[in-house]
């Protein structure tokens, strides 16, 4: 059961921002409701009003330009999964969207809601980090952008100001000759661990690398030590370095003990899954696919 609340349905970002500024902690933003309605039901959040941003025109738009892909905040996971532009520019993102939560959550849950809620056990932020994501925030005071890595501050904590609305996330499409993979593992509803790896070929060697690990700690992170180690390595040698790279990732993550497991366990699983995901990515970079399967694991 939900406690009574008022429902506002603004039609511009400025209106929504004014409401947020006026209502302060008494209001929460609402789109798909897959997160906010849950915490309202549980009594973890109490507000007198919800501000429904789904009626703001253009907020669900998906656009591509100059090597970037912009996904509007109120685009649902289902929309992202099926969108031709996403599939063409960032196919891994469409693939991951297909595996977010379950079909009912994907039908209504939104990309912006997912990022702004900042549940650490979420796929999108991890994958988006591998696309150098930038979030767009807007308020009556103006608009600004922030790298996703700076936007997510911790568990359920973001850099969004009280009167701001997350309007879109902008991804940088991978350059040509890039192959990537995303693996997630878990037996619960939400993932215990997510790893995204992308390798850009430069001749027979690795030209650029992206490694992102999420869900194990308070926020997803890029693993720069692992990326640096792989840069310039010949494609044929990547598999030989996989163990070492996985070890670097296991050292660099900041795991938290929670219901998904102990910090120690998550560090171990980071090692296991960075290695596995890297091997899938390098196989794809070489034009093969591995069709690897592991228990309780989804590989996109």
């Amino acid at each position: 059961m939900l406690r009574p609340f008022a429902l506002y349905q603004p039609t511009t970002v400025a209106e929504a921002s004014d409401l947020l500024a006026r209502e302060g902690a008494n209001a929460a933003l609402y789109a798909g409701g897959t997160e906010v309605l849950l915490i309202l039901k549980e009594g973890l959040l109490r507000v007198g009003s919800l501000i429904d941003v789904k009626r703001v025109p253009g907020l669900a738009a998906i656009r591509a330009d100059n090597g970037h892909l912009s996904i509007g905040a109120t685009a649902t996971h289902r929309t992202v999964e099926n969108d031709a532009t996403v599939r063409a520019r960032c196919p891994l993102v469409a693939g991951v969207a297909r595996h977010v939560a379950n079909i009912r959550v994907r039908s209504v849950g939104t990309v912006g809601g997912n990022l702004a809620f900042a549940d650490p056990h979420s796929d999108l932020a991890t994958v988006f980090l591998a696309f150098d994501a930038v979030v767009h925030l807007a308020s009556r005071r103006g608009a600004r952008t922030l790298p996703l890595a700076d936007f997510v501050r911790g568990q359920y904590e973001t850099a969004r100001e009280e009167d701001e609305i997350l309007t879109a996330v902008r991804l940088t499409a991978w350059p040509a000759h890039t192959a990537g993979a995303y693996a997630k593992f878990g037996v619960h509803e939400r993932p215990t661990l997510g790893v995204a790896v992308a390798l850009t070929r430069h001749g027979d060697a690795v030209g650029a690398v992206r490694v992102a690990v999420g869900c194990v700690g308070p926020r997803p992170q890029r693993i720069s030590a692992a990326e640096e180690r792989l840069c310039g390595v010949s494609l044929a040698d990547v598999a030989r370095h996989a163990g070492e790279v996985a070890e670097l990732a296991a050292r660099e993550v900041d795991p938290t003990t929670d219901l998904h497991g102990s910090a120690e366990y998550k560090r171990d699983m980071t090692r296991v899954f960075v290695r596995r995901t890297l091997l899938v990515a390098v196989a794809r970079a070489a034009g093969r696919d591995t069709h690897e399967r592991h228990p309780h694991t989804v590989i996109v």
Binding site: R3, F5, Q9, G33, L37, L50
Partner: protein, 165 residues
């Protein structure tokens, strides 16, 4: 800007299983409660109450949603299908027939959600692989663990090509 003040109702008009419905609902009213308590449609069930189990699955404009975590007001102007609307009079939906034939029902608590989710899947992908069916139904839990027969029933129905849109 549309505003519905706290403790007040607004009128919603929507279709449920093909019939027009008009109701006054408060913003916090959940679709599941409206269906069960005001429209006496008990096929969608409250179980986990957190979008994990799928017992409350209904289709809104053809898309599965968790009615336990979906505001009734969102159904305004839309088409809602519950398990009660699957059969055409006395003629069961081919999926229902397949569930009976394969014994895909034990306690039956999850069945309405399974049927409706499968309905959407077959509407979108008429010939899914077994892996795809399992993946699509990931969010519908059967605590009797009768998954094998449920999957068999859905695959058999797909194979027979008997699904109705």
């Amino acid at each position: 800007m549309n505003v519905i003040p706290i403790q007040s109702s607004s009128k919603i008009r929507f279709r449920v299983n093909g019939g027009a419905v008009e109701l006054d609902v408060r913003p916090e009213a959940l679709l599941l409660d409206v269906l069960r308590d005001r429209l006496q449609l008990k096929g969608a069930r409250r179980s986990c109450d957190m979008q994990v189990c799928g017992a409350c699955t209904v289709l809104v404009d053809g898309a599965p949603v968790s009615a336990c975590t979906y505001l009734a007001i969102e159904a305004d102007g839309r088409e809602v299908l519950t398990v009660e609307g699957l059969a055409d009079g006395d003629r069961l939906d081919p999926l229902q027939e397949a569930f009976i034939e394969h014994g895909a029902v034990q306690c039956g608590f999850c069945t309405s959600g399974m049927l409706l989710t499968a309905k959407t899947l077959l509407a979108e992908e008429p010939s899914p692989s077994p892996e795809r069916v399992a993946e699509y139904l990931r969010g519908n839990l059967c605590r009797c663990t009768g998954y094998r027969k449920i999957l068999d029933a859905i695959l058999a129905c797909a194979k027979s090509g008997a699904t109705r849109a």
